[in-house]
């Protein structure tokens, strides 16, 4: 039975390279594992906020790669609803389609994973 792997994104998109390299890791693992779940929690929700202008701060614009989740069959993409609300971000402002979860639902989903990687 394939292991359920959860990848948790908690960092803002460009202060460190964690977000971009976690995305590389997610896309690569999806080739080997079809039970990936991806979580965006806390400042991690900023990774999904539309209209990054990464090149103006000498960073790579990785948002187009987020749109490859569909192509890579990464379907379980979850966003913490309270993290969005705290930052006054609406679902319409997100660059990809995701499922909103309450804190309790996030906890439940995290508990269901066999392995977690957190960035």
């Amino acid at each position: 039975m394939e292991k359920k792997i959860g990848i948790v994104n908690r960092q803002a998109p460009h202060g460190r390279s964690d977000a971009r390299e976690a995305l590389d890791l997610t896309l690569a693992l999806s080739a080997y594992n079809e039970s990936l779940s991806v979580f965006f929690i806390g400042d991690g929700v900023y990774q999904l906020l539309k209209k990054h202008q990464a090149d103006s701060i000498l960073q790579k614009d990785f948002q187009p790669m987020l749109k490859m989740f569909d192509l890579y069959d990464i379907e379980q993409v979850y966003v913490c609803a309270s993290s969005l609300a705290l930052r006054n971000i609406s679902v319409e402002q997100l660059v990809i389609k995701t499922e909103l979860l309450s804190t309790d639902e996030i906890k439940q989903h995290l508990a269901e994973q066999d392995q977690l990687m957190s960035f």
Binding site: S17, D18, L25, Y32, Q115, M117, S118
Partner: protein
């Protein structure tokens, strides 16, 4: 310890060896797990963790040399030290083959660390009982 009690661990090390304590904790975890009779399937270095694979790391004599410690432990207990190639190249960790390929004058990957792809992480994740991230 009977075989049924032996846990197969894989480690994912993302901490910078010079500035994050997690890099040292990972080594200590490995040593403790092995001492308790458990098995290490392998260690995968990612993000700033790949810097651990440089043989140019030269701490002061009263500080711990993490690359030396990892290399000795891995050789003694026969587990692989896998280093993500793309994370490595952007941080200046290069082996002989990549140096030739990229026309670089030097390389610095320490033995027995090996450059490998994220597929190796998938492999380590699949064949362990527990994946622990540092």
């Amino acid at each position: 310890m009977s075989d049924s009690q032996v846990i197969k661990f894989s480690l994912l090390v993302t901490g910078n060896p010079a500035s994050d304590q997690s890099a040292s904790t990972a080594l200590q975890f490995c040593e403790a797990a092995l001492a308790a009779g458990h098995h290490i399937s392998g260690v995968f270095f990612y993000l700033d963790g790949v810097l651990t694979a440089s043989h140019l790391i030269s701490p002061a004599s009263d500080e711990v040399n993490l690359p030396d410690r990892w290399a000795a432990l891995a050789i003694q207990h026969h587990f692989p030290l896998e280093v993500c190639v793309s994370a490595s190249l952007r941080r200046g960790i290069v082996n002989e083959i990549e140096a030739k390929h990229l026309d670089l004058q030097h390389y610095n990957l320490k033995t027995p660390f090996v450059l490998s792809g994220l597929g190796q992480l998938a492999e380590l994740s699949a064949r362990c009982d527990r994946l622990i991230q540092f």
